[in-house]
Subunit: 524 residues, 2 copies
Amino acid sequence: MTAALHSAEQAPVGRARHGGRAGKRAGGASAFEQAPFRQLKIPFAPTRLVSDDELESIHVASLRVLRDIGVDVLHEGARKIMKEHGAAVREGVERVHFDSDMILELIAHAPSEFTVHARNPAHNVRFGGNNVTIAMMASAPNCSDIDSGRRPGNQADYRNFLRLAQMHNIIHCMGGYPVEPIDIHPSVRHLECIRDLATLTDKAFHIYSLGKERNVDGIEIARIARGISREQMLDEPSVFTIINTNSPLKLDVPMMEGIIQMSSAGQVVVVTPFTLSGAMAPVTIAGALVQQNAEALAGIAFSQMVRKGAPVAYGGFTSNVDMKSGAPAFGTPEYMKAQLIGGQLARRYNVPYRTSNTCAANTVDAQAAYESVFSLWGAIQGGGNMMMHAAGWLEGGLRCSYEKTILDIDMLQMVAEFLTPLDLSDDALGFEAIRDVGPGGHFFGTQHTQNRYKTAFYSPIVSDWRNFETWAEAGSPTAVEKANRVWKERLATYEKPHMDPAIAEELDAFVEKRRLEGGAPTDF
Amino acid sequence: MTAALHSAEQAPVGRARHGGRAGKRAGGASAFEQAPFRQLKIPFAPTRLVSDDELESIHVASLRVLRDIGVDVLHEGARKIMKEHGAAVREGVERVHFDSDMILELIAHAPSEFTVHARNPAHNVRFGGNNVTIAMMASAPNCSDIDSGRRPGNQADYRNFLRLAQMHNIIHCMGGYPVEPIDIHPSVRHLECIRDLATLTDKAFHIYSLGKERNVDGIEIARIARGISREQMLDEPSVFTIINTNSPLKLDVPMMEGIIQMSSAGQVVVVTPFTLSGAMAPVTIAGALVQQNAEALAGIAFSQMVRKGAPVAYGGFTSNVDMKSGAPAFGTPEYMKAQLIGGQLARRYNVPYRTSNTCAANTVDAQAAYESVFSLWGAIQGGGNMMMHAAGWLEGGLRCSYEKTILDIDMLQMVAEFLTPLDLSDDALGFEAIRDVGPGGHFFGTQHTQNRYKTAFYSPIVSDWRNFETWAEAGSPTAVEKANRVWKERLATYEKPHMDPAIAEELDAFVEKRRLEGGAPTDF
């Protein structure tokens, strides 16, 4: 390498923290090097793992499940709505059967693509089409870092994960609570947590469907944070909720209530059957997909009964279990297949497709990485539009890890770079550069290289590309140790995004009022 | 998990070593659980990263490079052959220019698909079409395991890697010497090494093009091992060689001699330009691909000048360098893009496409895994037909690792499972199973599950799916520790594949004769 190139190296990340000018945020620039916030798009056709005929066989079987087996719907009001729309509902009986034409007619009303609005409009995201929107990990009961180990979720860690997600442009939205802060009473937890989502981040976020009050409060906090009217909220989805069916074929009260509240308010519902093949779904991936599809169609159709045109997405979460222990497995070949075919199904119904970045590893080792990249492979080649749990996920979702968060951010940034269209201009094709260098020469010092070398290639966060000797002299650090250093450095540079003081005051007043009212029931 | 399923767990790998019947090889079965040797096929269309027009711009620019810039050909005899076929060659001048029509006319003679024959016909492999053939890592100067650390290549480790490659059905062929045994004198190293390839394994193998004698000896050893005539060898490719051009645009004496010897003998040539973007190729991936394509076309066309119809493959190895240090990087987003477009180019010319499974990591950590899986992603979605360096690669190719070998074997087996077509029979679609279980039930105990659970899902070698508490009690093992245990267990069960004693004798006699003649010159 020439000395010229060497000396032009980017300022190290740490410099920002020692009072240098680079540490000051100018116009929203971050204290470390990263690509700007941008909507990712998949530039190629998703991979079709099965033929159209094979896909149709899954589709047909799932319609047969809805018609002949039916679904248990525990919410009486939901059954009433279903009956009004032609489903076979009998008084006092939970089991509901759905006519195939009715299902297909309803899902045809679901929009193929829509914008989810953040309080910072620069952070609005698009669901559907060839867009990829990336969400932070959600719902872990535990968290960890390699300094302090594994611990139950709590507010301090919860807030730190929000800060990390806010700082990194590759995280487009918040998928829920990265870790469940169990040190906040459940009756008011959603108020505190959603206020944090709306203030520590300025990105779009998820709210949990755990009873009507929590949905209503969440939508209201998002509305206040955006400073808009209820009418505008109805036309501009600003929050989303994941509806995990109780597989097999059961839709419980909170999830039906969630669809009613969210769809009627024009907010986003992501119907995601939790179909683990061999446990809550057939041991065959084809069968698990039949069941996933039946449950997803039931939920999507219901959202359209509540409000035609309500934004909704098709969630795929089919994986297999370890047949020796019953433990869920992730990032497996079976999981990849399910992701690809899930995408084919979602596109058949012309609705956005939700995927995940998951693993079953207990530590940030090679297993955590390969299971995650296999997940990403399936998600991206499957044409996934919205990726949940994209950063931080460990232990099959039981833990959000600080180091895994950084590792995932790096891997996601690599995926984003992979998806960035290649420059194929004449200048990029480089005939002149090849001619100037000629046979036997080298390209380090050429003008063509000098003009581009700073931004030519993705510069990884975690990867250690030093030669063995230099790396060994530095103490043979592994990827997880590098990630540990990085999250602490980056978190130290966090700055709370701007919020109009009047809005902050209104938000606090609302939360205070709802706290005094007792928050939400905790009998769920 | 039910006790019934639990007790039916597969016999642990280790049992074979304690004298149990499972340890005996019956009909070629191995001492551990693995899928049978089988030709992998990609069941979906490869990903087209660039449009046909964009691909054409690379194609056109590369033909312009060959015509207007030319290539330095250091081998006088090769220049003579090129001149006879219409290339612009001037007496005493190394630079050769190629007419575009001539290049295209020549490469049209290259076969799109062919079989490479192993001495065990059950291990024959197919190059081209939608086939994927997987080769062990090759050419590392160093090797390592976590017990004894990093060390220069030597015969004992060399043989161990051959044994591991032979034992694992996912490794279809031998890509060369997994590690260079520098304790054998270079003049006879090829004789010892190729005899080991032909006796410790019964799979097809690579021979190095490092002077005429080594090519001739390698072909002869393969012929003796197969027990066939020279005429039959001409029609049945049994060895392959990698020709790495001296990028940019230089073809040296041993590589030209290699093509002459191999193509004239009907053996396989894999032309693989070593085009590191920013070093030996333009800093733009588009430019590096233009150069890769020009060099590959020159080599492929030359093979067809030597013998029309000679089996040849298009090798893609374009990656980027770390612009801070000049070190090569692997498994990067740029590498993935180059792999996909390399595949589009190879398919444009209707020749088999060679890829690799690479990383730059210094240890078997998360980085080693994510860089490798990103490589696999690019290789498979790029429609790669033949994957070099598939198991063992660390440190940008400077080291073959025992633990990485096991990790890669596990990941490759996952890829193989991913590529296995999904069962979409009525029985697999599982309507009856879903009906029998019904809403709110579970599938663990159903007959549908009982009939399938043993083989329903890929059972990983390395992945640890125990819950956190059990895993922590077991000492919190990481993936590399598991891999360390596995390679030792497996190597202990190695059995040399059968060889007819008369053939073994003929082989030894040939090697002895060539040793006495002094082997091959060492002035390369």
